[in-house]
Every structure is written in structure tokens, then in C-alpha cells.
Symmetry: C5
Subunit: 360 residues, 5 copies
């Protein structure tokens, strides 16, 4: 089971720090990457080409009318390069702002020549921490631009299917490429969701074995936080895919709509799971409370049994420790043994009483 | 009352394990069945024929224009056979994916020549465990294809009505057969729901008799999980039946709509019950907490009564166990008996006090 | 305050026990009545006729074109008689199924010649238990058929108004009769709701007087169950009346619509009350928890006070019960009295401490 | 802060006690007023007339075509007089029923010649109790009828504005008068809401000072009940004003719509506040639970500290109170003082331990 | 982290104190400012002018057809000046009422010549307290009027962009100025929201370190109150911006709509965060309860361990403190040491028992 990196719920503010001009392209995000890594995948039915560079200009030459071109840009720090891309592809300044603003929630905007989609990639890093990476897609008639915060993504399967010509991807247009990318993103949500499910089950069984108190509460709280964050990535995307499904323009072709419908099914499924897991996590707290109360009950029973048995006995012993001059029992020959007899009877009586009460 | 098999909430991932081409037909499910069992029921008003085989090709010969044919396929492991069926009936690749993807939620898709329905069968196995089986229906003008995960289903009543010509089924088309199958599925939900209801009542009475603590909490949690799973099977199906009702095509005939409306009524009824039982289960937790607190109260009372009575008495005895040289009471003749008198008075006084407080 | 009969939440399954043909008329209900009691009330402005019989056929003769005829059938066990009625009035088989299926939720179906309504009568029996009786109405142009589970209903007022020609009922058609019957049913909901309200108030005051623990929790739980059941009877009926209001056919006349609107107002009012009482019942549990905790606090205080006062005193006494050879205090003449002085000071000091803490 | 009179949540049943003819005018309410007080305010731009009487007939003479006439009727017990009014103004029998039925929820009905509105006046009586008074308005082209349960209302400001010709009221029609009356009703809700807010703050601070246990719980419960009742008065009125806003008839003039929109704003504002206060009240219960638990913790700590310190010391004293013949320590010269030394060390050790645990 | 000033939830009543004429302009607010401060910023592409005064009349001269003019009025106490502005710009009396009524919730009204918007500025004062300031905007074809409660706002960035000609603001019309102002308001919400987030995290960690009981509960309660207040400022504004987006008039130009869409995105993002933080705050209470219970458990364990160990030992010592004449053990030579042995065994046995139970 992977470890959750402890993210703050606080999302980066919008690009515009206070008093800034709206539409200014300023990168605000966690991941530091001073350079921009550009990757170009250009293909059609017959042809496939892969090219990597650090300056976007190099890539514009790949623009050939009959091919589908996927420009993947990693690194949002170097906003100048992003702006160059924006200029070349004639992107609205607000789009550029959204691309670099990692606090932007998933959304879809339709422009005359392209569709603009913002989503969140959730996936596990090499070290097992959960990454929540901002990704933007610009989908045109024959190109897809993707902007990611840093290197590393969930698209290796798509790359392989293009390079090795698996499935339908080489026979279809940019819209199918967009579908394949979104599909890869959503598929990774399942993995994250499954991990949450594992955690819940682990917690449930831990609760009854060894509740090292405060730690568990904090971990449950952390889990709440994580599920709320995932929800914030997934729920707006549901709307995005829902609108993609109903979009009527000539970027998305008839035959791709079926695939998008399928995508929608998957994201609904994830949303339902999130809501169920959320409910399960919330009831973990209740379970925790009951286990604490049960333990307290157990502690109290031990105390009550010990005290109820020995306090009366101590009293009896105390009585015969009194120094009255005339205490007839003290002079009896078997007084001492008689008193032991009485104490044993009291002892057994209490045991029986607690046994009958099922406290023992 | 049947036993619930402890299922994980985690549903099988979509067919596409990560990095797989969408539309690939890969079986992902719990039930292992290496072969495909095919069952063909071919009938019309006059005629009835039953045929079983292990290869779909054998079945295609039954395709006669004037009969209604029900192809029932058990076993989704052998995807090659499923693909053959798909080819023969010209099913969209995404349908085939949904047929074998046991994680798919209930849904309905309308295609020009057929309706595609995904549902979940909930029923009790021979051994009393609850099975949640994925089932897909393809309903055409004169045929119904059903795809199940494994042998064993809830359709024996339908089979009998066809073979013995009971009710209207032999006089009606494929749409009525579809209704009869969905009706059988939904009828079984009632049985499962009734079982949940029994469990809740059992728990409610157990709570007050013998709450063997953690077990009960875990069983309640398990019940929560079960009701959430059932809900996930039932709620999307409600939508499916709702859309069936309003569908306007020539597969579903006028006179069948009334029956589907009836089906809709039933599924609404189940949904309502689920929500009520859910609320009851959630309040079981509250009840449990109160019973724990009540028990704690009882334990505390015993402790308090015992300690409050005997600690003062022990103190009195302790006083007269002191070794002061000059303690006048010790020398009194009836000092000892006087002290016993005082102790008995204190004892009775405490008893009376606790009686008045209603702790005894 | 009437007693609630402890009903199970489990409603009777649909008529079709598993594997039965849909549309089969099988009575499934609690109330045993082997015969069918038929009651016919035939009236118009001038004329009034009452007739009772045990076979429906007798009743058909009352069918006169200018009169309004109310056929009331008590007893759903004898399904053959029901089927005869169905044949005579040309009722759809699914209607007959709904008439005898006491698990059917309130609903309304519009047919060309009549309206079919299912509702639930809630009323108190002679012995103070709450009855939940299934009732179906078929409303035609000049007749109303009512099917009840057993003798005994809430319609005596309507009968009297017809026989004694009170109000508008004799001047209006079958639609007004339908209104009058539904109005009587809904009026009885108010009585039941008022009773719930009384119970809540009783519980609230009991909570603070004498919480005989588990009983109360079970009774609160029972009340939850009851309110959920009433809700299930009322909420779908709201929808039924809402649709009646907007219905556009020639069974319901213009002037009756105002009355139905009034009915709708009433049922909304009941729904609102139900939701409020539900919330009140749920918070009863919270109140109960706080009273338990308060009691525990009280118990703990008694223990703490007793122990805190006498344990130190016992220690002091213990010290002077030691048998050291050289203990100077023991030999002092007033040592014993000094020690009593110290003990009294400690005693009073503790009392003062607890007084200041407001525990006494 | 005003005192809330303890109302029962139970609202009076509809006018029709069981078995009564619908549309019968029967007064069902709390306030006893055997007579009807009639007040007529007749005005136009130039002219103003005030007239009071005990019989409605006297008032009809005021009916002059060019004036706006406000008939205010206090007292719903004398239903005969109400019926006379109804006849004169040709009111539907169901309207009359709603006028006298104090259990009727706020609603609006549009009739060809007038609008019928039911609302609830919430205001503080002279003695500081909250009154919930049923009020009905009939608004025609040039008259407004208001029916109140008893003398005393929230309209004195409106009366003054008419008599002294303040603001626009004398220049506008009956629709503006209606607005002014509703505005006065809604303005009073703010006062009630503010009072609730004060109560919540008082409770919040009381909780931490002196929680005289059960009283507070009952008062919080009472507050819950009050807010639920206010909600029931306000929420349906929101709908009423919303529909007034969109009404298209010639009673409400163009220029008044802006004022009604303003009214709608106010009632939305009240609704929002109600929901917020509701949430605050509900969390009062939670806070109460935590304070109880905190107190219990404190009690337990005192007990634990007392017991943990003195029980071991008593044990030590007990050891040297044993009567063994050979106990070397007893014979030591400074044995007694050594033992005191040990006991003081144990005592200080325990104190230090509890200090470090922050229990002291 | 800034401090939250403790505001009452109680919002100022509407302008109309009871019995006042609707539409009267009366200032009701917290901030005292006896004068009106007027600020005029007049600009177009080439030209920029800034002017400050204390009487509105001075400002009217700035009205030049080709420039955009922003009139900013600080101080709502001097209602006469506000009324003059209203007259000059022909504002509806109800608008003037809303401008000075600081209790008015955010709203938007469309008039033929201008748009009227009410919003709330939330920002931190110099002293770190949160201010909630009422602001109204009137947006015409070539002017924007803003009315604020007092000096000090969130618009310094906008002022700078106009004066220094940064970004697009000087090239655009009054609609863009409106956008820039709303954008500045909404940007400040992010800062407030981030602060809430910090507080939640601080509380979460404090809970487990040192819960100085009641204080923390009160602070959590205060946080609840704050989030509810922010919600009340933000949620209606969402609706306002949503309607701005869809508004179809000639004040808002085509190219500005994209910016407003962006604004809408931001406010949705804030709303989502508010809901998440709300949930987190509510679960703080639960966490708090569990930490209290855990502490109680710890206290109880100490008590139980101390009592369970020393009570039996004291009993043993008590036995041998009895004064029976014939107690053989007392006379044994090593009786005393044997008893010490037994006591040490009991002691170690108890330790072992508690160790195994994991209480130590």
C-alpha cells in the first residue's frame, strides 16, 4: 500500500497574487522545474516520429497538415516559453493563465478552433507518495497540446500504443488521442481509489487490535482530507466529460462519442466509489469512539472488580485489627481461621456475582 | 437468515488494466469458469426448443425469423467466444468490453438494432453467501442475449414459464422476455432486502442482551458495507428501467410498457426500503454507543456503592486500630459492640441513600 | 395516547412470490378475511340506496346511468371475486395485481376510462394499535370502486354525509366522492401525526425523570421505525395528489380541482410535520446520550467525594496503627484527641474544596 | 431577551374535525375571542377615514369606487360573521375554511377577482412571549381584507403611514397596501431571528460557566423546536412571495413589482439566517457533550490523584501495623521517622508524576 | 495568521427599523464615518485624472462622454449625499436603500441603463481583524459608482493599474472596470480562506498536544461561525457572477464575458473550498471528543492500576494486623519476610497482567 504524502488542503492561490493584472502568466505551483521539456509525437496511419527538445520553436516545424501532432510540454516555470506556444497557437491569455495556474479546478472551454481542458493527474510517485499534478489539454483539429507541471506522467501506455501501432489510435484523429489521454488519467484514479479502499480496511482491522490512540485519529483525519482532495479532482472532471459528450463541433468526430460515453461511465463509477468510501471513512470515527468506550468499560470493570472484592475484605481485616479490650472473637481459638473462612466466602460470593453479571 | 460473504468494497478495475487499449475484451472478475456454457431457448406460440452447447457457433442455426430466441451465455473468461458472438450479432467493441467487465455499473445503451442493458444479479448461493453477479442483456427484435459470469442464476422461473407455456410469455415478443428477466432480477432484490431487515432486527435485540463488543461493531460495519453495495446495484438500475419506460423504438411494444411501469414501481419500492434500512443501520451505531454508556454507568454504580459503603467503615475500623496509649473508647466494656452498632448504622444509611438515588 | 403495534419494517413481498407469472392475482397481506364483504352505496341528488352482499354479481344491477355508485369491497383474500369485478369493469391485470398486493406503494395510474389510485389508510384500531391498511380506488365517470384489506375503515363520515345529504356530496359526481374518500384518509394522518408528537413530548420529559435505560432506547428506535413507515405511506401519496391536481381528463370536473388543491395543501402540511418530528426523534437520541453522561458524572462525583475524603483519613489512622517501638505521638496524653482534630480538619477541608468546585 | 412561550409543535388540526364536511367554516385556534372586531380604513390621495365596528354589515357602506379600502377583521371565532363577509365578497368556501383554520400553512391562491394569501405573524407580546398568529389577506382591485385571530398585530406602522400620509402609500393602490402589510410581517421575523441569535450566544457562554445539566438540554431542545416552527412559518412564505413576484394579473401593478422583489430579498435573507442558526443550535448539543466529558475528566483526575497518592501510603502504614513477632524495622530507634521519610518521598514522587502528566 | 474579530452572527436589520416607510434611505451599519469621502478616477486610453472631494456635486463635472469615470464613495452615514448621487444618476429608491443597508445580501439587479450589484468585501485590517464590508456597484455604459462603508478597501491594485496603465484596463470600458473590481474582491476571499485553512491545521495539531479544554471548543465554535459568515458572503455572489455571465445587454461587451467566466471559475473554486473546510471544522469537534475520551481512558488506567495493585496488598497487610490471640503465622520466625515475598509476587503478578493487557 502506497504512502500518502501529506499535502496541505490549501491549494495554490490563483496566478494573480493580489494586485496583479488578470491574464498575467505567472506559474504558481509546488514542483520546481526551471526548464521546459518539450516532447513531440507526430503520427498518422503510416508514419511515426518522436522528437524531444527544450525550446518550443523547434517543434513548430512538425506541423504537417496530414499528421496528428501531440506536443507535450513538461514544466510550467518558464512562462516565457509557454507564452511563445500561446502566441503560435493563438491561445487566449486567460487560457495561458489557467495552464500555469495549478490551483485551477478541472474545466472545459470551447473555442472556435480548439477545446481547452484542465484536469488533475493523480498517481503514485516512485517513492509511493501520491502526486496531484495539474494538466491542461488544448485539442485542435489535428493537434493536441498537453501542459504538465513536471516530467513524469500517466501516458506511457498511450505513447506505446502510438509507437507500436496498437489498437485504433493511429487510425483516428486528435479527438481520439484526447480520449486516450483522458482515459489514462481516469484509469489512474481507479488505482488511487483502490488504495483508499485498502487503507480503510487496514484501519478497520487495526481499530480492534491496537488503537495507538491519537495517531490513528490523525491518520483517519488525513484520509478524510485525501478523499476530499480526490473528490475535488474528480467531480468537476465528471462535468467536463459530460459536456464533451454533448459537444457539437467538428473537432470531435461521431465515432469518438461512444468512447467518451464510456469515459463518462467510468468517471461516474469513480464518483460513486468516492462517496461510498467517504461514508466509510466518516464511520471509522464512530467505530473508533465505540472502541475507546469499550476499552474504558473494560478498564472500569477491572477496577470495579478489584475494588469490590478487596475493599470489603480489608474492612473485615480492619475490624479485627481494632484494639478494644473486650473483643470476644479475638480470644476464640479458631477465630482467625473462622475469619479466613468468612473472607473466602465473601471473595467467592463477589466472584460469583461478577460472573453472573458477565463481567468476568 | 443467510450469511453474507465478506466481499471487499473494491470492485474489479475496468477491463483495461493500466496501459491497455480501450475496447480490448479482457475478462476481469472473481468467478473462474474456463469454458463458456451456452444455452438456447427458442420458442413461439406453438413451438419450444431447448438446446445447450459449449460453442456459440452451434447456436446460430437457431436463428429462425418467426421465433423468439434467448441465448444465455454463462462464463466470461473465454473472451474469444464472446468476441465471436459479438461479431455475429454485430455488437460494438465497447459493448463487448462492458459485457466482460464485471466492474461496470448498471446502464442502458440504445443502438439502432438492439438495446444493451447491464445489471447486477443479487442472490443467495446454495451455501447462503450473497452473490453479486454481473449480467448483460442485448435485446433485439426477436432475440435476447444474456451474458452471465458463471452458471447459476435467478431465471429458473422464466425458463419454466416458457417451457410449460405459463402466463403470457409465449404469446409475447423479445421485449416481454426482457421484462420477465429484469423482473426476476428485481424480485430477488426483495429477498436480499428482507434478509437485511432480519439482520437489523437481530442486531437490535442482540444489542441489549449481550454485546460482545467489537464483534458487533464489525458486523454492523459489514452490514453498512453490504447495504452500500446493494445500493450501488439497485440505484443505477432504477435509472435504467426509467429510461426503458420512456424509450421510443420498435423493439419495445406498446403493451409491454405497462409491465415495465410496474417494474419501475418495484424498483422504486426497493430503493425506498434501502434508504430506510440504511438509516436504521446507521442508528444501530448510536444505539450501540448508548448501550455501552449504560453498561459503563452500571459498572460505575457498583464501584461507587461498594467503595462508598466500605471506605468509611474501614476508616472507622482503622481509627480503633490506632495504638495511642490513651484511647478511652478502647477500654469501655461494650466499646466493640458500640462500634459495630455505629458501623451498621453507617452501612444502612448509605444503603438508604443509594436506594433513594435509585442506584440500587 | 394510543399504543403502536410493533410492525416489522419488512413489507410483504410483491404478489409474485419468486418464479410466479407477473400479473397473477395473489393476495399477500396480514389480515385474514376469507370472505369478501361488498357494500354498495348508490345515490344522486334525490335518491339514496344502501346495499350489502357477499357476492359482487349482486351488485352489478345497481349500475344505473344517472346515479353515482360506490362499490366498497372489503377482503382481498378471495381473489376470485376480485377477478370477477376486474372482468366486469374491464380492469387491466396489473391493476388487479396492485389491488391485492398490500406491499404496493401509493401510486396513481390513468387509464382511458378510469383513474386507479393506491393509498394507505393509517388509523387506530379499537385496541389502540396503529393499522396500516392497503386501499385501492378505481374512479370512473359515475362510479368509485374501493378495495380494502378488511372491514373497518375511516369512511364512516363520508357514508353519513351521503345518507343524510350533508354538504355538497350528493350534488356532485364520482370525482367529488373520490375527493371525499382521500380527504378522510388524509385527515386520519393528522391524528396519527399528533399521536407521534405526544409520544415525543412524553419521551422528552421521561428522559429527565427516570431513564430506565434500554427500554427507552428501544422505544425511541421503535418511534423512528414508525415515523419512517408513515413517511412511506404519505410521501408517495403527495405525488399522487399532485398528479391528480394536474390531470386533464373528463373524470375530474373543473369545480373539484379546487378541493383537490386543498387536499394537496393538507398533505404537504403533513409531510412537513413528519420531517420535523423525524428531526425531533433523532435528537431524542442525542438528549438521551447527554442524560446518561450527566448521570455518570453524578455517580463519579459521589465516588470521588467519598474516596477523596476517607482515603486520606484512613491513611492517618493507619499511620498510628503502626507498631513501631518508638512513636512519640502515641505516648502523648492527648495524642488521640489531637489526631481526631487533624482528621476533622482534613474532613472539613475536603468538604470545602468540593463545595467550591460545586460538586456538592 | 424575550421569553419564548412554550408552544407545542402540534398544530391545530384542519378545521374539519374527523367526519366533517370539507368547506365547513369552523374556527380551530388557541386564541379565544368571542366577538369580531372590524376596522375599516378607507383612503385615497386626498381622503382618509377610519371606522371601527363589531358587525361587518356596517362596513359595506364604505365601498366607494375611487378609494382603497382596508377591512381588518380581528377574531375568527364568530364564524357567522366571517361567512357574511365571504358572501358579500363572493369568496370561495375553501377560502373561508382556510381563513379560520389556524393550522393552514402560508400559501397563495389566485382567483379571477382577487388574490388570497395566508401568512403567519410572529411577534412578541407585551409579556415577552412569542405569538404565532394566523393571518389571511384577500387582495382585490381596490380593497384588502385581512383576517386575524385576535386583536394586536404588527401593522401599527402601516396604519400611521396611511393616516399621516407618510411615504408613497396614499398614492398607490391596494397592491401597495398588500406589500406594506407583508413587509411589516416580514420585518418582524427579523426581530424574532435576532432574539434566537441572542439566545444561542447566551447558551454558548453559559455552557462553559455553569451547566445546570438537564435544564440546559431542555432549553436547547426548546430552541430547536422554536427554530423549526419559525422555519415552518417562513419557508412557505418565501414561495408565496416568489409567486407574487411572477404573477401576471391586473391587481398587481408594474411599479409594485420592484417592491415585491425587495420583499423577496428580505425573506431569502431570513431563510439563510434560519438555516445558519439551526446549524449553530445543533452544534450546541455537541458542545454540551464535550463540556460534560471535560467535567467528567476533571472529576476522574481528582479521584485518581487522591487514590493514587494515598492508597500506596496506606499500604505502607498497613505493613508496619502487622503483628509479626519478628519485624526488625519496628525495633529500630528511628524506624518510625524513616517510614515517614519514605512516605513523604512517595507522596512527592506521585505529585511530580501527576505534575508532569499535567493533571495538576 | 491573522486574528478573527469576534463578530456577532446577527446582521444589522434592514434599513427600515420597524414601522418605517420602505424605500427610506437610512444607514444601518457598524462603521462610523460621519463624512462622505468621494474619489473620482476618470480615464481613457490617453488620459488619466484623479480627484478627491467631500461633496458629490464637485464630481459631476467629470462626466465626459469619451472617458470612463469611476466614482468611489466611502461612508454611508451621510445619507443626504447618497441621495443626491441617487438623484443625479436617477437611481431607484430601493437601490439607495440597498446601498446603505449593510445587511443586504449580495445580489444583482438589471435596470435599463445600469446594472446594480451588491457584494461583501472580506479583508484583513491593519490590526489583523477580519473586516466584512458592504459594497455596492452601479455600472453604466461609461461610469462605475462604488459605495463603501468606510475608507480602506481592496482596490489599490486596480487604482495602480489604471494610473500606471498596466494590463488592458485603460483600453477597455466600464464593464472591464467592474470585472477588475469584482476580481479584486474575490481574490481577497482566497486570502481569507487560506487563513481559515491555517487555523484548522493549527487546531488539529493543538488537539493532540494540549487541549486546554473549553477554550478550544469555543475557538472551534468561533471558526464555525466565521466559515458560515464567509459562506453567506460568497454563495450569493456566485449567483450574481453567474447571472452577469449570461446577461444580455449593451453594458457588458462581448470580450469581457470571457473574463467574467474566469471570475465565475474562481468563485466556484472558493465555494468548494468553503464546503471542504466546513466539513473539516465539523470533524474537528469529533476529533476533540475522541481526544477527551482517550485522556479519560488514560486517567482511568492510572487509577485502575494503582488501585488494583495496592488494594490487595493493603488487604494482606490488614490480615496480619489483626489481633487474634492465635494466629500461627505471626509467630513464625520468617513470617514477616514470607509475607513480604507474597506481596512482591502479587505486585509483580499485577504488573505482568497489566503489561499483557497493554495498559502499561
Amino acid at each position: 500500500m502506497a504512502k500518502f504524502k501529506k499535502y496541505s488542503l490549501k491549494r495554490p492561490r490563483t496566478t494573480k497574487s493580489l494586485n496583479q493584472v488578470p491574464g498575467t502568466v505567472t506559474y504558481i505551483g509546488h514542483k520546481e522545474m526551471s526548464e521546459v521539456h518539450l516532447e513531440v509525437i507526430d503520427y498518422n496511419k503510416q508514419h511515426y516520429n518522436w522528437y524531444a527538445s527544450k525550446s518550443p520553436e523547434d517543434a513548430f516545424k512538425f506541423e504537417e497538415p496530414l499528421n496528428i501532432t501531440w506536443f507535450n510540454i513538461n514544466g510550467l516555470n518558464n512562462t516565457k516559453e509557454i507564452e511563445k506556444m500561446g502566441e503560435y497557437y493563438d491561445l487566449h491569455p486567460l487560457i495561458l493563465e489557467d495552464i500555469v495556474n495549478t490551483g485551477q479546478r478541472p474545466k472545459i472551454d470551447e473555442y472556435p478552433d480548439y477545446i481547452f481542458i484542465v484536469a488533475k493527474m493523480l498517481y503514485y510517485n516512485g517513492d509511493g507518495t501520491l502526486r496531484n499534478e495539474h494538466i491542461s489539454l488544448v485539442v485542435g483539429k489535428d493537434y493536441v497540446l498537453t501542459f504538465q507541471e513536471a516530467d513524469g506522467d500517466v501516458f506511457d501506455g498511450v505513447r506505446e500504443r502510438i509507437s507500436k501501432d496498437k489498437g485504433r489510435i493511429r487510425n483516428n484523429g486528435a479527438d481520439y488521442l484526447m480520449f486516450a489521454l483522458l482515459d489514462a488519467i481516469i484509469d489512474n484514479y481507479f488505482a488511487v481509489i483502490d488504495d483508499i479502499s485498502d487503507k480503510i480496511e487496514t484501519f478497520e482491522s487495526q481499530l480492534f487490535i491496537d488503537n495507538s490512540a491519537d495517531d490513528l485519529v490523525q491518520e483517519i483525519q488525513e484520509l478524510k482530507r485525501t478523499i476530499l482532495r480526490i473528490r475535488r479532482a474528480v467531480f468537476p472532471l465528471r462535468e467536463v466529460v459530460g459536456r464533451l459528450q454533448k459537444m457539437d463541433n467538428d473537432i470531435i468526430e461521431e465515432q469518438t462519442v461512444n468512447y467518451i460515453r464510456d469515459l463518462y461511465d467510468h468517471i461516474i463509477q469513480i464518483s460513486e466509489n468516492i462517496d461510498i468510501y467517504r461514508e466509510m471513512i466518516w464511520s471509522l470515527m464512530d467505530m473508533y469512539m465505540t472502541t475507546i468506550s469499550n476499552k474504558m468499560n473494560e478498564v472500569m470493570k477491572v477496577l470495579t472488580i478489584m475494588a469490590s472484592i478487596f475493599i470489603p475484605l480489608t474492612f473485615i481485616a480492619g475490624v479485627y485489627g481494632m484494639n478494644f479490650e473486650y473483643m470476644p472473637e479475638l480470644e476464640w481459638k479458631y477465630g482467625y481461621f473462622a475469619i479466613w473462612g468468612i473472607m473466602i466466602i465473601v471473595f467467592l460470593g463477589m466472584l460469583y456475582y461478577f460472573k453472573r453479571k458477565k463481567w468476568l
